[in-house]
Each structure stands twice: as C-alpha cells, then as structure tokens.
Amino acid sequence: MTITQILFWALSALTVFSALMVVVSKNPVHSVLWLIFTFFCISGHYILLNAQFLFIVNIIVYAGAIMVLFLFVIMLMNLNESSEPKKNRWLRMAGVVAGGCLLLVFVAALKNIDIKKQIAETNTDDIGLIQNLGQALFNEYVIPFEISSILFLSAMVGTVVIGKKD
C-alpha cells in the first residue's frame, strides 16, 4: 500500500463516520461541528486529487462562511438537545429503510459499469491549479461567472427582504 492509498482510506473512513455523526447527533451544535469536520475531510480528498483551488475554496466558503452562518443561526435560536423535535420511532426506521433501499439501487446499478479500470489520478497534473482554472473561468466561462454575481445580488436582496421585521 502506498501512502496515497493509506491516506485515501483513512480520509474516506473519517468522511463517512463524521457524515453519520451529523445525522445521529442529538445536539444541533454537535451536528454542525461534525459537518465542518466532514467538509475538512472532503477538502483532504480534493488535495489528494490535486485540486488545490477547490481545496482552498471549499475550506473558505463551506467550512468558513456557510457553517459559521449555520452556527450563528443555531446560537441565535438557542437550540439544544432539549428543544430538539423527535420524530416517532417507526417513521425514523422507515426513513432509514428508504435510504438503504436507495443505497442498494445505486450500488446495484453501478457495480458492474465498464469504467472500473479507469483511474482518477492522484498527486499529478495541474488542471486543478488556480492559474489554469482562472484562465478557463475568465475566457470560456465569463458569462456564467457574471450571471452568478447577479445571483448573489438577488440572494442578498431576497435575504434582506425575508429577514426584515415589519
């Protein structure tokens, strides 16, 4: 086993475990912290795939901005374990069974696909570097980039309108 493989398996196990803890935790604050940990693990996967720009964006945007927003909202609402709404047991079990069925369908559908021998290369190549991505972003994808700025503006206006007290 090379060091890349060891890192891949360790990161995968950590990712799945922390994702499970997000769902299982009773306290919403613990859920948020586990989700931040999951995002860090996924960022580790990006590093393994040599997608360095996405690694840093994932940490800044997801772990840094979005999750802090979640933490703020939970803090403002003062949510904790005692205020956590409980679903009844049978409904929860039905949810888990439905999710398991979906997992079964996905695995059965993708078990024997013919791209099995394809390799997602790790540690090599430079398409994930900020120079190449930036050149593609500001040449071919400049219109979607500008449109996404309009999307942000409208999201900001929408947030203010919804959050306004009247």
Binding site: V22, S31, F70, M77, P85, A120, G128, Y141, T159
Partner: protein, 128 residues
C-alpha cells in the same frame, strides 16, 4: 485510485444525506444534510474530471477542467441558497418559535393561525 472507489464513497455520502433529510425534523439539520448531498456530488465531479483528464490528456491538455469549474459554480449557488434558506428558517422561527418542520404543514388547512395568514398576506403584498 480507481474511479469506482470515489463513486461508492460519493454514494455513501449522498445516501447519508438522504437518510438525514428523511429522519430528522429540525429544519436546520435537514438543510445541513442537503449541503452534505451537494458535497458528495462535488467530490464525484472532481474525481470524474481527473479521470477524464487522464484519458484525454494527449488530445487536449486542459481536458477535465470543466468539471472543476462546475464544482466552483455549485459552491457559488450553494452559498446563495444557504443565505436565503437560513433567512426563511429565521423568519419561521420568529413566527412559530420552533424549527420543527411538522409545524409547517398548516397550509393544507384553512389559514386560521397567525403564521399562515402572515405568509399569505406577505405573498399578496409581494404580488401587488
């Protein structure tokens, strides 16, 4: 790494997100599980972009760069979505003092309570 490892890892993350949406009643946790599903798809896109790059690097040196840019745009959309969604959850908490999604089924009844009539009057006000 072989691509099918990444496929199964993403499937596992996606299904965990779905199970979270189905089993929890806290609106914020449901929202977080949606973020988890988005991240599973992002991981899949990055792995496929590297695979595509390796397969087509002889023809085109920048093959596979589109996948990573798609991930970037997904992150942009997710950030906008989170801000609006959390604003909606905060408004809901201000009106019904709970984040339990089961309290949100009242639109199927007559609107006799405060929250629903608030929603309907604000919708009317926006549409004028």
């Amino acid at each position: 790494m072989p691509i099918n490892y990444y496929i199964f890892l993403s499937i596992a993350l996606f299904v965990i997100g779905i199970i979270g949406v189905l089993t929890r009643r806290n609106a914020i946790i449901i929202f977080m599980c949606i973020e988890l599903m988005l991240n599973a798809v992002n991981l899949m896109l990055v792995a496929f972009s590297k695979m595509h790059h390796l397969a087509n690097v002889a023809k085109d040196a920048s093959a596979g760069i589109d996948g990573q840019l798609f991930v970037f745009f997904i992150m942009v959309v997710a950030a906008a979505e989170v801000s609006v969604g959390l604003a909606i959850i905060v408004m809901m908490y201000r009106n019904i003092h709970s984040v339990d999604v089961n309290f949100l089924n009242r639109l199927k009844h007559e609107y006799e309570d405060h929250f629903t009539s608030y929603c309907i009057t604000s919708l009317r006000r926006i549409s004028y």
